[in-house]
Amino acid sequence: MSRVSVIRTLVRRELGESLRSRWFIAYSAVFLLGALALTFFGLSGSDIYGYRGFAKVMAGLVHLALLFVPLMALFPATAAVAGEREMGSLEYLVSQPISFGELFWGKWIGVSLAVALSLLIGFGFAGAVATLNGTPWRPVALLLALTLLLAETFVAVGLFCSVIATTRARATGAGIVVWIVAVGFGTLAIMGATLRWGLPRLVLSAWALGNPVEAFRLGVIASLDPDGSLLGPVGLAWMTSLGASGVIALCFASLLLWTLVPTAFAWWRFRRPQAWSAL
């Protein structure tokens, strides 16, 4: 049996498992409805506000994405290994004539596809509505690309938690802690630290780019606000020195790194033969 057909079979199963998950369906449905509602109501004033009306929609979509996308990614990703370990199906799968690599990448691709599919439906509809109403397609496409990468980041984080945790509950808990730190504590901490200590620009930049949620937010705002007025002093300095494209590229790089590093660690742990077992 060729490696490709084995991986394809594993991907298909993982995709089906993810798409059947009630949590995943619920989050995807709420996300789709939220994206459509924001787009529809936000654009209703666009004939008066023009591009600024669309910027409002994008800001709303960013907040929606920050709230839902990490959770949509975390639930199937944390179940992928820890959940299967609990159900005994992981032990049975590794006893088959497949390699640990085929199993791991089958899971990675399957969960990623499920999350991407859900996002494409949610943002796809919203984006189609927006572009049909005269919104430029480039920022919409950029928002979609950054959102997909943000989702991939949390798939990687979730998969890492899933590989190292002994139970699905612990894996999900660990993933949610990462999300809370990134979404809530990360932003609050950066604001608090700036007010308290007046952190140097380099530290602030590293802090912002070191947080995938911040990197996502900065990337989207940079695409909407080419003069950098909404980004604060650090963002403004970035825009001046790197330009909007440079800032966006930096944000992409940060998200990519946040995807690659947890994926690499997850793979490193999973490929050690006993990592699959609950021992």
């Binding site: 199963r13 089906g16 159900m87």
Partner: protein, 302 residues
């Protein structure tokens, strides 16, 4: 067929398998017995190459550590706990036929032979199958690729008596060419299946041999029962009391029994004959395997 040299496995500071050397011939039926935590499951997992280990294991000449995937292609596996898959039996057949690189029809035929025809059961979700049906389905998946080795880790541990007997019946269809390793706490199954027994204790093989060897090694005596005339019963009992301790002699109606090693049974019969006591019938009741194995471990749970 399966050969190991210096096989050791540790989990943190605990040694689970300790420097094992063994060889299992093609077609041999090996039962693994031992207390909980003796290393039975770990040994099976090492043979499949799903746990790392020190030393070497070869399955039909293939090195398990470096060719785990190829080795698993030659092995069928039935776990203790049926895995939970959210799919129908038909989908399971398709899925595992792809993973094992065999036509789906082969698994379907095997299911048919086990009384689970896909035409009737294919639409059932796996969670709707009983424990016995699920274990038979897993056995069908394992046997469909005609594996050289079949590994079973307490496959009937969670089955009711009826499902267990159905599973054991299905197991009779395993080819005599297939090497079998069965980890079990069910000693009746071991007696039924195995021609070689290992007792694992603290990661080492403390016994390796056949059932007869095990009985002899454990010094397990058998009960010799004799049926005689009612008027001869007490005399027969007295003869037996001259051969064994009082707690090793029983009398009941026309039956008298004495617990003796194999070597003493002929003499016991001869003593009765010598005294002109009529013997209508006699038979030997061997000790249960459970009793024999417990002698290795005192009264600990097997």
């Amino acid at each position: 067929m399966i050969k190991a040299n210096g096989l050791s496995k540790r989990f943190a500071s605990r040694s689970v398998l300790d420097d094992l050397d063994f060889e299992i011939e093609r077609g041999q039926r090996l039962a693994l017995l031992g207390l909980n935590g003796a290393g039975k499951t770990t040994l099976l997992r090492c043979v499949m190459g799903v746990l790392s280990f020190d030393g070497s294991i070869e399955v039909d000449g293939a090195d398990v550590a470096s060719s785990g995937k190829a080795v698993r292609g030659r092995i069928g596996y039935v776990p203790q706990r049926p895995p939970v898959f959210h799919m129908s039996l038909s989908a399971m057949v398709e899925f595992f036929s792809t993973l094992r690189g065999i036509p789906a029809e082969t698994i379907a035929e095997q299911l048919d032979a086990f009384g689970l025809p896909l035409a009737e059961t294919g639409g059932l979700a796996l969670r709707e199958l009983s424990g016995g049906m699920m274990q038979k389905a897993l056995l069908a998946v394992a046997l469909a690729s005609n594996p050289q080795v079949l590994l079973m880790d307490e496959p009937t541990a969670n089955l009711d008596p009826r499902a267990r007997s159905e599973f054991m019946r299905a197991l009779r269809q395993v080819s005599p060419e297939t090497t079998l390793m069965l980890a079990s706490h069910r000693l009746d199954e071991v007696e039924m299946i195995a021609d070689r027994i290992w007792i694992l204790h603290e990661g080492r093989i403390v016994f390796d041999g056949g059932l007869g060897d095990l009985r002899a090694r454990a010094g397990a005596d058998a009960w010799l029962w004799v049926r005689t005339r009612r008027e001869d019963r007490d005399a027969a009992r007295d003869k037996f009391l001259s051969l064994a301790e009082p707690e090793a002699v029983m009398a009941n109606g026309t039956h008298v029994a004495v617990k003796l090693p194999a070597a003493g049974r002929a003499e016991a019969l001869w003593r009765l004959k010598e005294s002109n006591l009529a013997i209508d019938d006699f038979w030997v009741v061997e000790p249960q395997l459970e009793e024999i194995v417990q002698r290795f471990f005192g009264e600990g749970e097997i």
